[in-house]
Every structure is written in structure tokens, then in C-alpha cells.
Symmetry: C2
Subunit: 260 residues, 2 copies
């Protein structure tokens, strides 16, 4: 197995660039991930693994048992090089460059689908990842991200999604166009006057649309949706955070039958 | 109004210590907060404001309109001193030292209560704050934190709770003792075999118990609870994050009548 000991190695520099630059990821159609759990999940979900870098201690523990999709593209790296690769404070031992999933394929899966989550201009990668994970747990059929959302392929988003990014169909698109053209009934999640959750029945082909963390959906964005839904609040807090609202809405959609 | 221009001023140093040290907060029975919104919310909720430090620009905008509870204890600070006070990257203009709320009073409020959220060894301040905010929005009667939870009075927790820390009765106590002695029916939130949410009816005097972010409730902790509840998952994600699970459980408790 090749061993890389220089931080100036071209492949190491390319990895580091991909880790921090959304533009670079989009240009190449690739992304990076770190950690054994995420790597194995990506592999299980059919994500193409282009190259793997593994720290020596990790290789000592796992080298023998590596599946060929990993061992075939794996290089060992020295401790110094691993420090250059690691984006989290605790080094994860293994790092991979992967191909992005194919959006048109995902869209086709979605179009058969019953119930989607739409995220419009969400900015926090941890939030977006968590919501993708929750959508997966609730059996939603897919997630639609507006182009202005934070990057599906940033390490923080991937980490919070805990593999659900690979399992869920996720479409990144122009949200207004999608809502107009998709044929889904869209529910804008709003605070205040709207159809109260708990009474309404989500129809088949529903998309639940959640707005930006700080401001929620703008009036113009609400205007792009077919209907409006609100979570009745019994307490004194003015609103729920975006991820909490999404969890409750998806739970209701899933327990009230919109999700197959 | 007094003006403080030295970072070495004893009150400024005391503030900075309170901002970062849980031990110091507990020793003094005080905590600090920053930002106008949180300060006004604290005031509205009857939190005792001991002293306030205000940046000059903030004072120019708000000085005339300050309520006496703030102006009476307010000192102006120079820009350099404000940098010493600010814990977030964007300076918030105003900083206050407040007295902690009175736990025994809160406990009395809770004992009349219908439905509580119990957080056992939660470590992430943002998570804990968000769950307190959600509990408030769902009309829960109180929150019980185990002593090992992250600090209710850290700035991160206060910020995520958006004022709900002041509005909700919150009790910090030994969770095992509380569950044994309180007379509440406790539901351990678990993954897997348990009563499925959606079918069970929460009785009056319920506490929903959520475990640590990474590991959930330990078998021993589950053993301290009267019953176990699980959120049926239809997808492929193995579990929900703690805050999402809490939101869905509280929504069900609130929409199915345990919350008055």
C-alpha cells in the first residue's frame, strides 16, 4: 500500500481543498468524509469511493478486514498528514473522497413519492443534517433543498445526518420552480394563523416546507406554497426552532398516513 | 452613569469569570447574560438584575428608554471593555449579572403539574436550551435536569432557550431520586422494544425522560423509570437525535391531553 508522508502531496492538498470549498466540490462532483462509520455507510449505500486515506493506527486495527472497494483505493498516511486531513478535533483515522450522488436519479425516486420535506434557505449544516436524519427515521420519501441551503456535502451536514444523506433521495433545486412544477401539495410551516396541525390530513404527494432558522418563510415564499400549516402552541414561547418544527410535522405526516 | 474604561476593573473581571465558570455561578448564585432581547425577557419574568454593563453605542440608542430596574444598576463601558465582556463573536451591546431563579419555588409549581420533560445527563448546551424552548412552546409544566446535565445558566443554554429558561419551571436535581420520590409516572424514551408512541395515552403527572445525546438512557437509567416509550421508525435511520425525539414526544403528550 502506498504511504504518503508529505503534507504537500498533491492528493492531500486536493483533499484539504475539497473539505472546505463547496465550489470545488461542485466543480469536481466529489466530496470528502471522515470516520469509519460514515465511510462504511456510504459504501453500503452505493456511494462511489474514489480514494481513501488511512492513519497508521487505524490501519493496524482494520487493515486486514477492509472490503476491496476501500483497500483497492487506500493509501496510508503519516500522523502529520492525518492532521492535515482531519477536520474535527478528534482525528477519525480514515478519510475518503467520494462521488456525489446522482440528482436526476433521486428525483425520479421522489416523483413516485408520498411525502417530502422541503428546506428553503436553511443555513446551519448541523440543522440540515439532523433534519435529513429525522426525515429518514420518519420514512419520508425524500428531501428537497433550495439552492441557497447550506451544502448537503459539507462535513458538518454529513456528520449530523449520520448516513441518512446517502440513504434518502435528496434533490437540490430551485424551490419556487419545484413547488410550481412538481404537482405536490405544498404546506408552508408558519407561526400564527394557518391550518392547525393535529386536525389536518396530509394528502398524498405532500411536501412540508420549512423556512430559514432565523426568519422562517418569507411572505413571498409562503405565497409559493399551496397551503399553510401551524403547530398549535400552548405555552409562552413564540416559536419552535426549525428542526423541532420539522420533526413534529414529519411525525404527524408519518403517523397520519401521508407517508406510505 | 458610571463609565468603566479598564478591562482590569474588578466588576468586569468578576463578570468574565461568571461567564465561563459554572462553579463560580453556583458559588455566587448568579449568572450572566448578553443581548437586549434576553435581558428584557429576564426582566419580564421577574429575574433579579444585579448589574448591567452597556456599550456606548447601545446606550445611545436605548439610554432614554431604559426601565428603572436596568438604568438603576447600569454602567457604561468602553469598546475595549465590551470586547472583554462579549462571549459571542457579534457583540450584543448589553451584558447583565442576574440572580439564579429559586429552585424550591419552581418545584412547588411543578408538583401541581401535569407533564414534565426530564433530561438525564444531556451534554450539549444548545440541545438543552432548545428542548427547554420546545417544552415551553408545547405547554409542558416544567423541566427536570439531572445534576450531570450541562449548565442551565451557561450562555449557550440561555441563548438556545430564548428566554424559556426564565419562563419554565426548571428543577436541577438527582434524577433517580426524583423519579423514585416524585409520584410522577416516568416514561423512558428508548429505541426498540417499548410501548409505541401514537397508541399510548400519557396519564396525568407524567415525566418524559430523555437520555444523553450519544448513548441514550443506560439500562440502569431505564430501570429507574415506570414505563418505556419508543417512537416507531418507518425509515432506515437507527434513531433520532435527543432533541428531535423530545419534540415529537412532547407534541404527542400535548396533543393527547397529558398537558392541560
Amino acid at each position: 500500500m502506498e504511504k504518503i508522508t508529505s503534507k504537500d502531496n498533491a492528493r492531500i492538498k486536493a483533499y484539504a481543498k475539497l473539505a472546505v470549498s463547496r465550489k470545488e466540490r461542485q466543480r469536481q462532483g466529489t466530496f470528502v468524509l471522515e470516520g469509519e462509520k460514515l465511510l462504511l455507510e456510504a459504501l453500503r449505500c452505493g456511494v462511489e469511493i474514489r480514494s481513501v486515506f488511512a492513519g497508521e493506527r487505524w490501519l493496524e486495527r482494520h487493515g486486514e478486514a477492509l472490503p476491496p472497494e476501500i483497500s483497492g483505493v487506500c493509501a496510508a498516511v503519516s500522523e502529520g498528514v492525518e492532521q492535515r486531513l482531519a477536520q474535527s478535533q478528534t482525528p477519525q483515522g480514515v478519510y475518503a473522497v467520494c462521488s456525489m450522488l446522482d440528482n436526476p436519479v433521486n428525483l425520479a425516486k421522489m416523483e413516485e413519492g408520498g411525502c417530502l420535506l422541503g428546506l428553503w434557505d436553511l443555513q446551519d449544516p448541523g440543522n440540515v443534517g439532523t433534519m435529513i436524519r429525522t426525515a429518514d427515521a420518519m420514512g419520508m420519501d425524500g428531501v428537497v433543498l433550495s439552492r441557497e441551503c447550506c451544502d448537503l456535502y459539507s462535513l458538518k451536514t454529513l456528520r449530523a445526518a449520520m448516513g441518512s444523506s446517502f440513504r434518502m433521495p435528496v434533490l437540490v433545486t430551485d424551490m419556487a420552480d419545484f413547488l410550481r412544477e412538481s404537482g405536490f401539495t405544498s404546506f408552508a410551516a408558519v407561526v400564527g394563523e394557518a391550518e392547525p396541525l393535529g386536525q389536518l390530513q396530509f394528502p398524498p404527494k405532500t411536501v412540508i416546507v420549512i423556512g430559514n432558522e432565523g426568519n422562517g418563510l418569507s411572505p413571498k415564499q409562503v405565497g409559493c406554497c399551496s397551503r399553510q400549516v401551524t403547530i398549535p402552541m400552548r405555552g409562552r414561547a413564540e416559536s419552535l426552532n426549525a428542526a423541532m418544527a420539522a420533526a413534529i410535522l414529519m411525525w404527524e405526516a408519518s403517523s397520519r398516513g401521508a407517508v406510505r
